[in-house]
Point group: C2
DNA sequence: GCTATCATCTTAATGCATTAAGATATATGA
DNA sequence: TCATATATCTTAATGCATTAAGATGATAGC
């Protein structure tokens, strides 16, 4: 005996397939008695409802939402900001009774899964540029987070303004400023951005934040020295430490470190302490993101809290809603002992 | 104009649908010239290959493999052992050109996705017992890791033997032994297992490891005191610290701590040092898993390395192979400064 | 008693593709 | 030259279900 299908069940009961389908999908379309009968029959026959793949083919939607992570799964999962975001998405999707398909931004090909999903929530610009092209032309719903795709809805915070706010809260007129963690393309190690920068053409959040930092500096008549702006390939301990070490050994020594993430800021503070630099007396540090770990660390970090989990929820909701607007979420500047 | 389909493309070119299908799936079934023509026509028409959902329906396989995590996504992602495993699975699946669908062990219902996937790789016993029942009767391929399901293939290490080995390498005839991290069901906080234990009926790895620890103790004529065996709900800092504190304050004080994970062991060592207990002079500690963090910590930990990433790869390979055997992977006992 | 309405069920078209088996035409070998 | 093999393409059955529109009989209203 082969697997039971709508058809086989219908035949077994001597009713039409439409009726069986209705028994599962539109109970008001048939009598209660018959429905009961059908349902019990299904149970004994081992039929557990309409095949979802066929359903998806017919209805044109599967209930699966793909989340495209900018980098590899492994990296994303280890980054507290990203995994918070993921948790938020997962939570909201669960509410909607939908499913989450994780997709790496390193992948080359979207259309292995496009047909299975209702659309894509794209978190950050995918590492693989080909993916961006594919997302542009994708026929399914696409919502971006932390980066923009022309004509697509997005969820973000005002990175420029937030960076400006945090810098303004910390900077003084005679500061020497360094910025850590600008994200360049195809630069595999930490390095100074230099005078001929390989600008990231994807308008990543780090560039928006840099804009904000620089606006604040201009407001105070400060300039950013060439070797005081560093790229890091990822927000991790080692890359950040390398950049921090280099920058803190510059002459003159920076008095303020504006960082693109809390992880980078934490790492930089550790380096500073190792170098015997006192925080905040000799060096003030500003982070970005707002992660729990900064609360347990001393000195606590001045940072922009963007509540990534809520961002995840908002993204999943916006995806579901079908609205095509670009949503800006609130952020919160929290002053810590580091400034 | 609606979306192009196999049919519409066929009509546009004046050939049969079979030919179009063959152009994509079986190039040897048609002339090179026609194939070229079809492919370019598809490009201009905006048809990018057969719909995968329909394909999956027809072929009966989708190329998507679901990984069921024992706990919530959030927890799994924060546990280095689990996320290592995940990385391994992701890596191997990528090689196979398959896709990874992450599924939480807290979920209640499998059949929302069953029809979309080729099967399940189940990592640890799902928190939600209903899932286990569903996996038992699941018609798709199911492979388990770190726990067993009758009649299903599995990938694991010999937890009992590994635990035995590590304990034998550390224990001395007059030791006072404590065991930390047995996993009970439905016990939400750290607690002594006590004399009337709520045994975990799922043959979790922690029980196998306990078996090994106890076999080693018996071999040396040692017994495990009632309050020297503690449950923790998860392998995290707080739960572990609570258990460790309690156990280390027992009289007589334990001289050996056999832990169910490295995370627990690390946490226990921190507690011990805080209590002024010297390691390994006054207390020897044994972990389980083998995680990078233990290498950076001093004293380094004696532990069983089970190489979770390789386990992930092995699982994905075994899943793909279709073989129904229960595979035991090698482990490695590494002695550290903690013993 | 007759028609309009309603509840209940069926028919049949449809979604998008795969694939075994059949149909042509062309090339091959003796 | 004729029969056979080969290359190339088509037919039609199939996978599993949804859903608008039609059929049937029962109920209600007048």
């Amino acid at each position: 005996m082969s697997k039971p299908t709508l058809k086989s069940v219908a035949k077994a009961l001597g009713v039409s397939t439409a009726t069986i389908s209705n028994a599962f999908n539109r109970p008001d379309q048939l009598s209660v008695a018959l429905r009961e009968k059908i349902l019990t029959a299904c149970a004994t026959l081992g039929y557990d409802g309409p095949n979802k793949a066929a359903q998806s083919l017919r209805k044109g939607s599967s209930g699966i939402v793909a989340v495209i992570l900018s980098d590899s799964l492994e990296y994303m999962v280890s980054d507290p900001v990203a995994s918070q975001f993921l948790q938020g998405v997962a939570r909201e999707l669960e509410r909607q009774q939908k499913h989450l398909l994780l997709f790496s931004g390193n992948s080359t090909n979207l259309d292995t899964i496009t047909d299975f999903v209702d659309g894509f929530i794209c978190y950050g610009a995918p590492r693989n540029l080909a993916l961006i092209e594919q997302l542009r032309h994708c026929k399914k719903r696409v919502l971006t987070v932390d980066f923009d795709l022309p004509g697509r809805p997005s969820v973000n915070i005002d990175n420029e303004q937030a960076a400006y706010d945090s810098a303004m809260a910390v900077l003084k007129p005679d500061d020497i400023v360094a910025v850590l963690g600008l994200r360049l393309i195809d630069a595999p190690d930490s390095q100074p951005v230099g005078s001929a920068p390989m600008w990231d053409n994807q308008s990543s959040v780090s560039h928006r934040r840099l804009d904000g930092y620089q606006r604040a500096m201009e407001a105070l008549g400060l300039t950013l020295g060439t070797d005081y702006l560093w790229h890091t390939p990822e927000s991790n301990q080692e890359y950040a430490a390398k950049a921090a070490k280099a920058v803190l050994n510059q002459v003159p020594q920076p008095s303020v470190l504006l960082c693109m993430s809390d992880l980078i800021a934490l790492s930089a503070m550790r380096v500073a302490l190792q170098l015997g630099i006192r925080i905040p007396e000799q060096l003030r540090v500003v982070g970005f993101d707002g992660i729990e770990e900064t609360l347990r660390y001393h000195p606590t970090l001045t940072s922009v809290w963007q509540f990534s989990d809520r961002k995840g929820e908002a993204a999943a909701r916006a995806f579901q809603s079908g609205v095509d607007s670009c949503q800006l979420l609130p952020y919160e500047l929290r002053l810590g002992e580091s400034s």
